[in-house]
Symmetry: C2
Subunit: 456 residues, 2 copies
């Protein structure tokens, strides 16, 4: 007999993953290697170690080790806010009147408000281990910057954050949270870096983008002794750390004999989705199971659904290594939206390869539809979701409603990556009917793609 499933499944502390899962090790078609922006050849560990801590550079390049130990100090930090609950959306199922069973992994129960802390603490730990003074980074919605500030504060490291200007202006309180954790926050593009000044000259009045902020953070780290750069998404290392999301979800579901049919996540750079699907996709790649994976992106920044699979720069200033990925071009600056965390021109190479291999689907959704789902969910499930996370809610509801039509009792798992406490300006616009549903035209996309580097 199956055990009755509670509203919230919490694992025990000793069930916390002891190893991260390195999804690339399970892939037959490996993601293409990063290229050195100077030589245009696969980047070496040495070159990459100038950008990232050495241990993180190693993780970045490792596509063969299937499991990597989580150091005890990181596990101790995880214990402060993990395991994150896996929630059975009983109320949502009931109000939708769907026969589908809906579960979501909630990563918002920590002060950074999102899953970003899972990788932030790992990156800060390795920086500390290497004896560094501090790290630099960029932040879009502010969740990653907050997470890294918390992690650096915990290990006594300095933290310099370049915050995408439109988020900086929309979310004044985010800066104050980072300051509470001792971080230094600069709106990007700024005049403190050469690349920032160049971008401001070319695009005066720009509201910024993750791509710009990355360039500024990388330049700043390179110019300071004892600093390295840290990035909250896109990278292989980040997907590795984020595998705790999927590993915990799977352990929790396995306990109750539940197997999801559909797994849904929002996708900006891909860190949350990559982490959520990791153990499930690994099973599927080994022929042990089959799942339907859906990546959800904003229609305003449709990387997977309308981008191109090609080598591209990860940043606007072209100082970072190149990655083969679905991209809209590093020069593409998406319309200001309220999902700052999803305004990135590219997609992590692992998910790009899986998508190109037909192992994953993608959907693009418009902002108003996303906020409709967000508000509905907030009222029914009692959690105020981040706009980013609400992309996954939108499609989870859509899939559940399809089940209502067909009568299928599918099991849906989605990632609820974070909370929307700092997104009330966005909710206000939604309430006032002032949401911007701008979708880029084919011509605008062609312009971004025309700037792709010419790499085999």
């Amino acid at each position: 007999m199956k055990k009755e499933i509670p509203y919230k499944i919490y694992l025990e502390e000793n069930e916390l993953p002891k190893q991260w899962l390195n999804l690339r090790a399970f892939m037959k078609n490996k993601p293409a290697p990063l290229l050195d922006p100077v030589t245009m050849q696969p980047i070496t560990l040495d070159a990459l170690s100038n950008v990232f801590c050495t241990e993180l550079a190693k993780q970045e390049l490792d596509d063969t080790t299937p499991y990597i130990d989580v150091p005890q100090e990181i596990r101790d930090f995880y214990k402060m806010y993990r395991p994150a609950p896996l929630i059975r959306a009983y109320c949502l199922e009931k109000t939708l009147g769907t026969p589908a069973k809906i579960y979501y992994k909630f990563e918002g129960n920590n002060t950074s408000g999102s899953h970003k802390l899972n990788s932030a603490i790992a990156q800060a730990y390795y920086a500390k281990e290497q004896g560094l003074k501090g790290v630099t980074t960029e932040t879009g919605a502010g969740q990653w910057g907050t997470a890294l500030s918390m992690a650096c504060s915990y290990f006594g490291l300095d933290c310099k954050v370049f915050m995408v200007k439109c988020s900086y202006e929309q979310k004044p309180f985010r800066r104050e949270v980072m300051r509470t954790y001792g971080a230094n926050v600069t709106p990007s593009p700024s005049t403190t870096t050469a690349v920032g000044r160049k971008i401001l000259e070319e695009f005066p009045g720009t509201s910024g983008s993750l791509g710009c902020a990355i360039s500024e953070a990388v330049e700043t780290a390179a110019n300071l002794d004892g600093y390295r750069y840290a990035l909250g998404s896109v990278l292989n290392q980040v997907l590795l750390h984020q595998s705790v999301i999927g590993l915990e979800s799977k352990t929790a579901l396995d306990k109750y004999g539940v197997t999801p049919d559909i797994i849904i996540g929002c996708a900006g750079g891909g860190s949350n989705l990559g982490g959520l699907i990791a153990p499930f996709m690994a099973e599927q790649l080994q022929g042990k199971a089959h799942y339907q994976f859906i990546a959800v992106e904003p229609a305003s920044c449709p990387t997977l659904t309308r981008g191109k699979y090609a080598y591209d720069y990860c940043d606007t200033g072209k100082v970072c290594p190149l990655s083969k990925m679905y991209t809209l071009g590093s020069g593409f600056i998406p319309a200001a939206s309220h999902s700052g965390g999803l305004r990135y021109h590219g997609m992590t190479s692992t998910l790009s390869q899986l998508y190109d291999d037909g192992l994953m689907e993608a959907r693009a959704v418009e902002q108003t539809k996303v906020f409709e789902a967000a508000e509905y969910f907030a009222r029914v499930e009692g959690i105020l979701p981040a706009p980013e996370s609400s992309h996954a809610i939108r499609v989870a509801i859509d899939e559940a409603m399809k089940c209502k039509e067909t009568g299928e009792e599918k099991t849906i798992l989605f990632g609820l990556t974070g909370t929307g406490y700092f997104d009330m300006v966005a909710y206000e616009k939604f309430h006032d009917g002032k949401m911007n549903d701008y979708v880029p035209t084919d011509e605008e996309l062609a312009k971004g793609l025309a700037g792709l580097p010419n790499v085999e």
Copy 2:
């Protein structure tokens, strides 16, 4: 052998309290009865039922039933966000270098951001059961208003919130969260009520107070068909519902054979503290145990430490029943502070009686000291606390440091009532050294106390 204590103790769903604990039933010296503001006689159930739902009025007057069943519908809602974790503050202990063992019950893991939801859902449930259309209420810091909005949305009730003007202005996003849950929010004092207009005439430019907002909400409910008033603190019914905090805490500690020596909570109207101490105080009143209880209040609104134990109005407009309580006088308007939830002139009658009987201590702390503790805690324990909650943190740290001096291994339990995501203006002032540590003079307090009604 004792079990190793995890960072977070989560109870199972079936360990959620099935009954609330009615602390008054255990008291030999009962709190004095509420008085009808018209007759100045103990208020009848009939009269009280004009203000509150009948079932809640019954709970308000019941000082003999020790345990009261939690209706299944409320338990189902509790399951969405409870049990709340009891956290062992390992990191705090370590950085303080104290031999004390510190635990805190964290009530902030829900969208309202505080413990207030525990009573909000109960009050909304009974309103729904009675077939009402909606409820009116006041809110100070905004946590109670958010909680009641969420609860009303869940049961499909209308919710009208009067928000203390200084909070309304300091926390624009709070209003938007309430709006997300469909509530109607008015800054108080307002011109929509007779009592609001009167107060504005007497004190033009006032930043408002909980006492004013209560009067406006009560008047509005009285003038509308199918509405009753709901209150988030001070009342006996609220303490009853909040007993889930203490009951869960005690169950969690008992599992690991832990007995606290000191129990600490912040105290505004007293709902959190009353709920936290309920089962422990009940034991003590039965002679089964002994604990040190400490109420922490802001020095700017020192109800217990500098107030008077007397009958007083619960609201500025004097339309509510009178309660015998520690009070600064219903006309006392405290200096604007960043702990809106603690700016109330009185203290729930149960805690007032216990304090008067010497069963509980009280401490008043100044704002800067509170924020120092808040920031320290945020960095070390990874949770950004609400200013209100940080009063308890302040004294918990003080007590832990005393243990460091004496070498005593005391066990400290405190209530972390909520998160500070909507309090970043306050944190900003703290960072900028612009905190206001105003403490009322004896003359100012005497003025407030001079207005106490003349009741035996």
